[in-house]
């Protein structure tokens, strides 16, 4: 099994009060900043991030170095750090913001220096009251120490950073929704392509939007050097340490630091202590609620973005939701679908109308009023939404959980409709076997049944 890592979480384990800048400095904090500002050029820093092979930790797994190098030449540019953490099952950013805010700030300052940015924000979800307060005081401490403000460390580089609160909307975690929200508009995402925030972002200017954990990783990359950093994990997949959050029916829920070669099975059984009451496993959502669910036969997979992508799922935020044999799949799907219904921003008709419609159908199946045609109807609505909306919300939490659960746990949904009541089948009978459905790449969650096999199973 892969060894546990102690890079992102090291100081947090050793010291409870890293929000105090003096403690953070005592533990080696702001040395990476000094190294970056005093001994590296902005080109060298961008190259360093590119060479490190890091993929952004916000969920899409997009190369951070690539994102930076796509930034338009126009000035001013801005930084928006994405701390809207709202993907159900994810709690790593809360952990980093609570436990080690200065490491995130240090990464933000390095990023701004590399990109020639003089004003940046960290967008933190509104429910994180104490975290926002702590972040504001951390910015003030950094200002007093001369890490923010005018002429930072005597290099002539000026920078201001502020915390900006959200107010309870998941859509603000989508990068263009975040920008609209920060500008003071309704957070309706913008159409992309052709223009990404790196070209046209905050107030129309080139903008870097990076996740909180990505910012903490930037500090680590600059501190240890890209060469050392890319030895961690796998270069083909994802380099660097990752934070995996386990929740649901595991014995020891929590956040664990490993590289992405660790398998999901190891994380569940060896790291998180296995399933409560030693029950059997029924399904695992491997990267936040949008990530297509895996059946018990699919959990022996490495946790890399690429490896999970091959299974038709995704690495997402690394938030792992584990469900045991007593879990009802119709309940699970109804919960996921109600979340999507509540969070759809309402900009695009297919998502605004389709997601609640699917939610109503799933609810009637649960309450014993399911109709013969309901599974086909749901799959058809999925098709009407998928790819027909401005942003990926319609498909990510909207369509993927519905389509994947319906197909993989088809026997249980069929049983609910046929028996006109909520049914929890014995786990072995509740899901289709991997040869009975197929994934159509490249989109996650795009499954269809292999017909003859499914008929045989039915």
């Amino acid at each position: 099994m892969a060894e546990p890592l102690n890079i992102l979480t090291k100081e947090m384990r050793e010291n409870a009060n890293l929000a105090d800048i003096n403690e953070y400095i005592k533990h080696g904090g702001y040395q990476a900043l000094e190294k970056a500002l005093k001994s590296m050029t902005s080109e060298a820093l961008i190259d360093e991030i590119k060479n490190s092979g890091i993929k952004g930790r916000g969920g899409a797994g997009f190369s951070t170095g690539m994102k930076w190098s796509l930034c338009g030449d126009r000035m001013p540019r801005y930084l928006c750090t994405n701390g809207d953490e709202s993907e159900p099952g994810s709690f790593k950013d809360r952990l980093l913001l609570e436990g080690n805010p200065h490491r995130v700030i240090e990464g933000m300052i390095i990023t701004c220096f590399a990109m020639g940015i003089n004003l940046g924000y960290i967008y933190i979800r509104g429910e994180f009251f104490q975290i926002i307060e702590q972040m504001e005081s951390a910015f003030n401490q950094a200002r007093e120490k001369g890490f923010l403000g005018k002429d930072i460390l005597g290099t002539g580089f000026d920078l201001d950073l502020y915390a900006h609160p959200g107010a309870g909307a998941y859509i603000c975690g989508e990068e263009t929704g975040l920008i609209e929200s920060l500008e003071g508009n309704r957070p309706y995402p913008r159409l992309k392509p052709p223009f990404f925030p790196a070209a046209i972002g905050l107030w129309g200017q080139p903008t870097i939007v990076n996740n909180v954990e990505t910012m903490a990783q930037v500090t680590i990359i600059v501190g240890m050097g890209a060469e050392a950093y890319k030895q961690i994990g796998s270069e083909e997949d994802t380099t660097g340490p990752r934070l995996f959050g386990l929740c649901g029916h595991v014995k020891n829920p929590g956040a664990y630091e490993f590289d992405s070669t660790i398998t999901l099975k190891e994380l569940i059984y060896d790291v998180a202590g296995g399933i409560r009451d030693d029950n059997k496993i029924k399904g695992v959502i491997p990267g936040g609620i949008s990530a297509p669910i895996l059946t018990p036969e699919e959990i022996n997979t490495p946790m890399g973005f690429g490896a999970l992508g091959k299974l038709g799922s995704m690495g997402g935020t690394g938030g792992i939701i584990v469900m045991d044999e007593k879990t009802s799949m119709i309940d699970t799907l109804l919960n996921a679908s109600s979340f999507a219904r509540h969070e759809s921003c309402g900009q695009c008709t297919p998502c605004r109308e389709g997601v609640p419609w699917m939610n109503d159908i799933i609810r009637r199946i649960k309450h014993g009023d399911g109709r013969e045609e309901d599974i086909d109807l749901l799959l058809d609505i999925c098709k009407q939404i998928h790819g027909h909306t401005v942003c990926v919300f319609g498909q990510a939490p909207g369509v993927w959980p519905v389509r994947t659960m319906l197909i993989k746990y088809w026997p249980e949904f069929r049983a609910c409709i046929e028996q006109k009541k909520q049914v929890v089948l014995p786990v072995e009978e509740s899901y289709l076997k991997p040869h009975q459905y197929e994934h159509i790449p490249p989109v996650p969650g795009n499954f269809r049944m292999v017909t003859e096999e499914a008929d045989a199973a039915g």
């Binding site: 953490e85 709202s86 993907e87 159900p88 099952g89 994810s90 709690f91 950013d93 809360r94 004003l119 924000y121 979800r125 509104g126 429910e127 994180f128 009251f129 104490q130 201001d160 502020y162 900006h164 609160p165 959200g166 107010a167 309870g168 909307a169 998941y170 929200s181 920060l182 500008e183 003071g184 508009n185 309704r186 957070p187 107030w203 959050g245 386990l246 929740c247 649901g248 029916h249 829920p253 929590g254 956040a255 959502i285 609620i289 938030g319 939701i321 469900m323 879990t327 309940d331 699970t332 919960n335 996921a336 979340f339 509540h342 969070e343 921003c345």
Partner: protein, 160 residues
């Protein structure tokens, strides 16, 4: 009837407005709405007019924002807002039972306020502490690993 921020809140509002470039003051609308909610317990039409005055935009622009976000209440709430997270990880951890217990104990349903105007019961989507569910957000404080006993203690600790 127009309303105005207290002198302390006005100071804070100035500080918030200074975080954004002079030509983009509208960016302060969400932070200022939070300030208004803290000041008056909810965001009234008058509060929206007040915020619009600070930003220098039309009140309808502020209303457009205030009505979008679930965190802003458009009518008065009880003295304490008790919010149960009900998204999947908390559901697997048993938040349904916690909600039922709270609802029965307080004698109110979703979105309702107790007769003494002390507590409003609400639900929210994922609060991002999924390893510690079930979760309760009481005003600005997050409570984790809830049991019925813990709920009793929390309710007892809230002043009337």
């Amino acid at each position: 009837m127009s309303v105005e921020f207290s002198p302390e809140a006005q100071e804070r509002a100035k500080e918030i407005l200074n975080r954004y470039p002079a030509e983009h003051k509208k960016a302060a609308v969400v932070p200022l709405l939070h300030l208004a909610q803290k000041e008056w317990g909810y965001v009234s039409s008058d509060a929206m007019v007040c915020v619009a005055g600070l930003i220098g935009c039309s009140p309808v622009k502020v209303a457009e924002i205030a009505t979008f976000y679930p965190m802003f209440r458009k009518e008065p709430a009880g003295k304490h807002r008790v919010i149960v997270c009900h998204t999947l990880p908390c559901a697997l951890a048993g938040c349904g039972d916690i909600y039922q217990y709270l609802s029965q104990k307080l004698g109110i349903g979703l979105g309702e306020t107790t007769a003494d105007k002390n507590i409003t019961l609400e639900k929210s989507e994922c609060l991002a502490a999924c390893d510690k569910g079930p979760l309760l957000l009481v005003n600005e404080t997050l409570y984790t690993h809830l049991t019925n006993e813990k709920v009793d203690e929390i309710l007892d600790s809230l002043d009337g």
